[in-house]
C-alpha cells in the first residue's frame, strides 16, 4: 500500500473537487498544492490565481505567501488588488476559492480573526485578508483546517467570512447573490453541506480514520449517516504532488519511512 501523509491526502482530496475550467482562487500552503495538483491531473483548463493579482503563474516553485514573487512569475497577467477581487466576483466566471480558518461552524461560516472578545482577544489571528471577500463573491468556497473540537464549533468567536450564514436561504437574503461553502477539508475527512438546510455533514472519512474519531473531534453533533471512506491517493496523484508540485517539500513532508 502507498504511504502518504495527512497533508498529502488533504491536498489531493481538495484537488478532486476542482472542475475543469474553474478559476481557482488559491491561498498558500496546502490549498496551493490542491489547486496545482488539480490543474495537472483533473482540470487542465483550470486557471489558478491569487488575490494579489497574479493570473495563471508558472509555479515552478511553491509560493510561501500570496504576495510571493513566485505568484507574479510566468503569469498571463499581473495586476492589482482591485482587478483581482473584481475578477473573483465576476458573474461570468465560475470561481472557486480556497480558504483557511481557525474556526468553522455548521453552516460553513469562518473565523480568521480572533478567539475571545474581539476588542481584547485571548488570541488574535491575521484577520480577514481577502477571506471575507472571496467567501462573499466566489461561486464556491473550500476550507482547509485541522479537525479539532475547538475548531469545528457551534458558535464562532467572530464571523469573519460568511458561508451559508444561518442555513437555508439566509445567505441569499443577506444580498450575497451566489456562492457559499462547498466543502471543508480536514485532516480526518471531507465535509459537505446539505442542499436545502445547508447544514454540514461528513461525506468522506480518510482511510485509517473512523467515523467515531471524526465525531469526537467535532464541537457539534455531526450528521455522519452518509459518510463513506475516501479513495486513497493514487500513485499518479502522489507522484505529481511530490515531484512536480512541491519538489522542495516546503508544504507537505512525505511520511516517514
Amino acid at each position: 500500500m502507498l504511504k502518504y501523509s495527512n497533508s498529502e491526502m488533504m491536498a489531493i482530496a481538495a484537488g478532486r473537487l476542482i472542475k475543469d475550467g474553474d478559476i481557482v482562487f488559491a491561498g498558500t500552503g496546502v490549498s496551493m498544492l490542491a489547486a496545482t495538483v488539480a490543474k495537472r491531473i483533473y482540470a487542465p483548463r483550470a486557471v489558478i490565481f491569487f488575490e494579489t493579482g497574479g493570473i495563471d503563474p508558472a509555479l515552478d516553485e511553491i509560493p510561501m505567501a500570496v504576495a510571493d514573487l513566485r505568484v507574479m512569475s510566468g503569469t498571463a497577467l499581473n495586476s492589482g488588488l482591485i482587478e483581482a477581487f473584481s475578477t473573483v466576483g465576476h458573474r461570468k466566471l465560475r470561481t472557486v476559492a480556497f480558504l483557511g480558518a481557525a474556526q468553522v461552524d455548521q453552516y460553513g461560516n469562518l473565523n480568521t480573526t480572533c478567539i475571545g472578545d474581539y476588542h481584547r482577544p485571548q488570541k488574535r489571528f491575521s484577520g480577514s485578508g481577502g477571506g471575507n471577500d472571496v467567501a462573499s463573491l466566489a461561486s464556491g468556497g473550500i476550507t482547509f483546517m485541522q479537525h479539532e473540537k475547538r475548531r469545528l464549533v457551534e458558535k464562532l468567536d467572530y464571523m469573519t467570512s460568511v458561508g451559508w450564514y444561518r442555513g437555508g436561504n439566509s445567505r441569499q437574503e443577506l444580498g450575497l447573490k451566489r456562492g457559499g461553502a462547498v466543502a471543508v477539508v480536514t485532516n480526518l475527512g471531507l465535509l459537505h453541506f446539505h442542499e436545502e438546510t445547508k447544514e454540514i455533514y461528513l461525506a468522506e472519512y480518510f482511510p485509517g480514520v473512523t467515523v467515531e474519531q471524526v465525531q469526537e473531534n467535532t464541537g457539534f453533533a455531526l450528521d455522519v449517516t452518509n459518510a463513506k471512506e475516501a479513495a486513497p491517493p493514487t500513485a499518479e496523484e502522489l507522484a505529481i504532488l511530490r515531484e512536480e508540485v512541491d519538489p522542495q517539500g516546503l508544504i507537505c513532508q512525505p511520511p516517514e519511512q
Binding site: A65, V66, A67, L69, M72, G129, D133
Partner: protein, 325 residues
C-alpha cells in the same frame, strides 16, 4: 533635459524625506503586501527618528506594519490582514499589541481596504461594496466613538444606503474613502524625469499613492529618460504625484522586490524568533534598527553572501532554488 536629473531637488535622503514629510500622528499608508516590496528603509528611518502615534492604514501588510507596531510608532491601525505568509501566519508584534490592548484597531477585508484607497484616489467620498454582508466586519466596530470623532477617522465604519437604481429594496454597504496624509512606496525604477515604474504585482500601491496628500518613493535604480520613456505603457506613477524620491538599493529588504531580489528567508525567520519575546524584540531593534546608522551599514550587516543568495534571476524575477524553509 541637460543630462542631469529633472527631479534633482526632490531627490533627497531617507532622513530628509522622513523629516520633511512624516509627522507624529499622521495617517500613513505603506505600499507592498506581506513579504513583498514593503518600504522597509523608510520604515526603519521612521522608527529610528522616533515618530509616534501613527495612524496606519493597511490592506495586507506584513513585515513593515509589524515592526512599526512593535517599535511603538503606531497608535491606530486599520487593517485587513496582518501576516507574513508561511513566515508568520499572524504577525507576532501585531498579535501581541492587539491582545494586550496597546492598539486602537479596526478590521476590514482586503478588497474593502483596496476600494477605500481607490475611492480616495478618485476624490469620491465613498464607494459601494458587495462584501462584508452578514459578517462581524459589519457587526462590530473596533474604534470607539471617541476615536470616530478624530481627524482622518471616518465617522462610521460602514454606511448603508438603499440602491436608488433598483426597483426592489436592496441595501448596499458603503465604504468611506481613505486619503492618508502620506503614502510610502518602494519601486524598481525611477526615470530622470521622475516617472515611477513598478514591476510585478502593484497591489494597491497606485491607489494609495494617488489617494495620499504626500508621497515618498524609494527606488532601486535611477534610469535615463530614454529608458523610462521607451515604453510608457509600463509606467506606474507620474512625477507630479511624488513629493520626495530616495534612491535606496535593497530598500525593501528583508521583503522582496520583483526582478531585483527575493525575500530573505533567514532574516524573516530571525525576525519571527526575535519577535516572539518582548526582550528579544528590543534586542532585534537595537541591533538592526537603532544600532545602524545608515542603509549602507544595514546592508553590510545583511552581508554580500545573503544579497547574492536572494538575487533575482532575470526572466524569472525571483531567486530560484533559494533555501526558503
Amino acid at each position: 533635459m541637460t543630462g542631469c536629473s529633472e527631479i534633482a531637488e526632490r531627490l533627497i535622503s531617507l532622513d530628509e524625506a522622513v523629516e520633511e514629510v512624516i509627522f507624529d500622528g499622521c495617517q500613513l499608508a505603506i505600499g507592498g503586501f506581506t513579504v513583498t516590496r514593503n518600504p522597509m528603509a523608510l520604515i526603519y528611518t521612521i522608527i529610528r527618528r522616533g515618530i509616534k502615534d501613527l495612524h496606519l492604514v493597511c490592506h495586507s501588510n506584513g513585515q513593515g506594519m509589524d515592526i512599526l507596531v512593535g517599535a511603538g510608532c503606531v497608535k491606530r491601525l486599520e487593517i485587513a490582514y496582518g501576516g507574513n505568509g508561511r513566515y508568520a501566519p499572524t504577525c507576532i508584534r501585531f498579535r501581541r499589541a492587539v491582545e494586550t490592548g496597546k492598539l486602537e484597531f479596526e478590521d476590514y477585508s482586503n478588497y474593502q481596504m483596496a476600494l477605500r484607497f481607490l475611492a480616495g484616489s478618485l476624490s469620491i467620498p465613498f464607494i459601494p461594496t458587495r462584501t462584508g454582508l452578514g459578517s462581524d466586519l459589519m457587526e462590530l466596530e473596533g474604534f470607539s466613538s471617541e476615536v470616530r470623532r478624530e481627524e482622518k477617522v471616518a465617522s462610521s465604519k460602514y454606511a448603508r444606503v438603499d440602491n436608488p437604481f433598483s426597483a426592489e429594496k436592496e441595501e448596499v454597504p458603503l465604504l468611506p474613502a481613505l486619503n492618508p496624509d502620506v503614502a510610502l512606496i518602494h519601486a524598481q525604477y525611477v526615470g530622470e524625469d521622475g516617472t515611477v515604474r513598478i514591476k510585478g504585482l502593484t497591489f494597491a500601491d497606485l491607489e494609495q499613492a494617488k489617494a495620499a496628500d504626500k508621497v515618498i518613493v524609494t527606488f532601486e535604480e535611477l534610469v535615463p529618460r530614454s529608458f523610462i520613456r521607451q515604453d510608457p505603457d509600463q509606467n506606474s506613477l507620474a512625477a507630479f504625484f511624488v513629493d520626495a524620491y530616495v534612491k535606496v538599493p535593497y530598500g525593501s529588504h528583508p521583503t522582496a522586490c520583483f526582478n531585483y531580489y527575493d525575500y530573505d528567508p533567514a532574516h524573516l525567520n530571525l525576525y519571527r524568533h526575535m519577535a516572539e519575546d518582548d526582550d528579544r524584540f528590543q534586542e532585534y531593534l537595537g541591533e538592526w534598527v537603532y544600532g545602524v546608522e545608515s542603509h549602507e551599514e544595514y546592508l553590510r550587516k545583511v552581508g554580500i553572501d545573503m544579497l547574492l543568495k536572494i538575487k533575482a534571476s532575470p526572466g524569472i524575477g525571483y531567486a530560484p532554488g533559494l533555501d526558503r524553509k
